[in-house]
Symmetry: C2
Subunit: 396 residues, 2 copies
Amino acid sequence: MLDQRESGRHQVFEAIRNAGQIARIDIAQRTSISPATVTAITSELLSAGLIDELHPDPIPGGAKRGRPRVALGVRGTAFLIAGMKIADAKATIVLLDFVGETVGEFSHPLPNGRMEPGELAVLVRDVLQSACETIGRGVDEVAGLGLGMAGLIDAERNFVYWSPSLKPRNVELGAVLAKTLPMPVFVDNDANLVAKAEQHFGEGQGETDFIVITIEQGVGMGIVLDNKIYRGERGCGAELAHTKVQLEGALCRCGQRGCLEAYVGDYALLREAAVYGQDIPHDSVATLYAHAKSGDPTAQRIFERAGRMLAMGLVNIINIFDPKLLILSGQQASLDVFDAERLRNWVKSSVVQVDAPLPEIRLHNWGDLMWAKGAAAYAIEAVTRQKIQALSRDAA
Amino acid sequence: MLDQRESGRHQVFEAIRNAGQIARIDIAQRTSISPATVTAITSELLSAGLIDELHPDPIPGGAKRGRPRVALGVRGTAFLIAGMKIADAKATIVLLDFVGETVGEFSHPLPNGRMEPGELAVLVRDVLQSACETIGRGVDEVAGLGLGMAGLIDAERNFVYWSPSLKPRNVELGAVLAKTLPMPVFVDNDANLVAKAEQHFGEGQGETDFIVITIEQGVGMGIVLDNKIYRGERGCGAELAHTKVQLEGALCRCGQRGCLEAYVGDYALLREAAVYGQDIPHDSVATLYAHAKSGDPTAQRIFERAGRMLAMGLVNIINIFDPKLLILSGQQASLDVFDAERLRNWVKSSVVQVDAPLPEIRLHNWGDLMWAKGAAAYAIEAVTRQKIQALSRDAA
C-alpha cells in the first residue's frame, strides 16, 4: 500500500504532467492536498530534477502581491525514454524526452519474425544502440525502455505466455533482456500500448474510460477503465482476436476454430482469396483490396464477410462494456479495408437497442509509430513510478 | 466530490459492516484514519443510531489497561429494508434488517407479466404492504426498497430503457413509484442484483473482482470490478444475453439475429423441440430435459447445442476479462440443464490457451430468493449512503 506522502508525490507529479504548466496553489486545489504539503513535495521533485520552475517571473493571472506565482512543469531533459515495437518484419523505435516530446524515431527490418529469446534480446539492444548513436546519445542514458509485441503477456512480470515473435512459450523475457540491456525494460501486449498511446497522445486524451480496437494484420484490444489499462487476473485479459464468433467456425492460427481473427486477419482474407487460384490476387491484402475496389464481386464478398464479422466483435464489446468511447486505431490502409461507414451501420443495427445515442466510435488513422510511442508512454509512466518510489525511500 | 470527512464516515461504517464487530483502534488500523477521527466519527454514527456498542465490557484480546476496548457493530434494528424481484409470473420479496438478517420472505403470483408502469407501481405497493403486515410492521417503517427486473436499466436514474415486465419503453420508473410508495426506491437490472447478492451473501464475499452469469429462463451477467458493479456509460453495460454468437443466426425475441439467448433461453430450447410436434415434449424445459435424460437423442442434441453456445459466451467473457472468478448462479434445475462438467470442458478447450490455471468457475445453486436478496442488499447500500450523506449535511 502507498503511504499518504508517496501517494501525494504521485498526485502532485501527475497534476503537473497533466497541466503542462501549473502553479503550486492550483496543484493544491486540483489534488485537495494542503498548500504546505504541495510546497514540500514540489521542493523534493525540484531537487530530484523531475520538474522545473518554468517562469521565475510572475505568470499572467498570478497574484498581484505577496509571493509571485511560479509555474512548474515536468523537466523534459530529466530522462531519455525509449519505446520499441517488435512486429513481423520490422522493429520500430522512438526516443522521447521525459515530457513525451519525440527526440528520434527509426524503423529496422527484421531478418525473421520468430526468434529465440536471446536472439530477440540482442536485436533489441542493437536497434536501441543504433537509434541512440544516430541522435548522439549513449544507450546508458536511456532511463527506461517500453517493449511492445503481439501475444499474451503478463506485463506486471515481463512474462510472455505466447507471442508470434518468440519461438518458445512461457518466456521470462524481463530476465533475458536484463542480460543485454542496462536500463529497466517494461514489456506489454502491443494493443495495450496503443491504448497507452491514445491516452497520452491520441483520441483518449482527457478520457478516463475508453476502449481501443487496433486493426492491422490482426485485431487487438486495449481497455482503459478509470485511467488504467485493464489487464485481468493473469495479465492476459482484453483478448478480442480469439473471442469466438462462430461455433466450430474457420480454423485459426491459434489452433482453435471460429475466432474473430480467423475471419478478419490478413491471413484469413488471403486464405479465402487463395481458393480462387489465379482468378483473384492473394499475395497481399492491398492487391486483393484493389481488386475488390475495381469491381470484382467475389473479392468484395470476401471483405464484406470480414467486415460483418468485425462488426459482430464490436457489437459484443459495446453490449458488454457500454463504453463512452470506442476508438478504432490503425493505419489508413487497414482501416480502409473495413469501410468505416458500412461498419458503423452494421454495428448500429446489431447492438442492443436503447433509446440513447450509440457510444461514440472514433477512427484514428495513426502512422506506423503509434505502437512504439505507446511503448514509450508506458515506459515514462513506469520510470516516473520508480523515481517517485526512490524519492519516498530516501525520505523514509 | 466527497469531502474528506464524509469519505471517512463511509470508510469507518464499511469497516464496521465488513468486520461484523470491531474495536475503534482496529478500525483506525484498517482504514488508515487517525484514532482521534475514528472516535469522532463513531460517536456521530452512534448518535445517529447506525451502529451500536456491542460489548460494553472489555472484549477478549483487548488491552489490559487503559480504556477498555469496546466492539462496535452495525445496528440491525436501525432500518427495515426491502428487496423485490419482478419476474414473468411472480414477485418475490425479502425484508431484511440493517445487518442483512432476513426478517421475512414471500412470493406472490403475478396476474400478467407485462404491465403498464402505474399497474406495476400499485402491484409493488400491494406486495410490500402484505409482506409488512405479515410480520407485523408498517410499510412506512421500510427505509428503502430495492427493485430488480430483467431488461436494460439505468440504475443511477431509476430509468428503464426496456424490460419484459413493462409494456412501454423508456419509463421513468423512479418517478412513477414515488407516487405510490413513501420510501426511496432503487431500481436495477436483476443480474446486477444477483452480483450484489453474491458479493454480500454468496460466493463473491471477500472478492473485489468477479463476474456472475445468471442462468434461469435466459442468461444475464453482473460484473464486479474493484468492489463496484460495472454499469457502463449509459447504465446498460454487462449485456450478455444479446451478444452475438452467430452471424445472421437464430431469431431472438429482441428482434435481432444470432443473440446468445436465441440459443440458450428457455424459449429457444422449446422452439427447437416444437419442430418435432408430438414426438418431443415442448411445453416446458423441465419435461424436455426429462425426455433428454430418458435417452432421446434429438432432445439431447437440443441441449447439447445450447450448452455449446453458452460455453462460447463464457469463453468470450473469460478471454475479454481474464477474471479471477466466474460464478454461474441459478437454481439447480436451470444449472442441471447445462451439465456443468461438460460446460467446463468445452470452456477449457476454447479459451485462449496460456500455461496458467483457468479462472475459477464456481456454480452457485441459489434458491428462488437470491434476486430479491440482492435487491435488498443494493437498497441497504443505497440507504447507508443516504444516511451518511445526511449526517455530513447536518455536520456541515
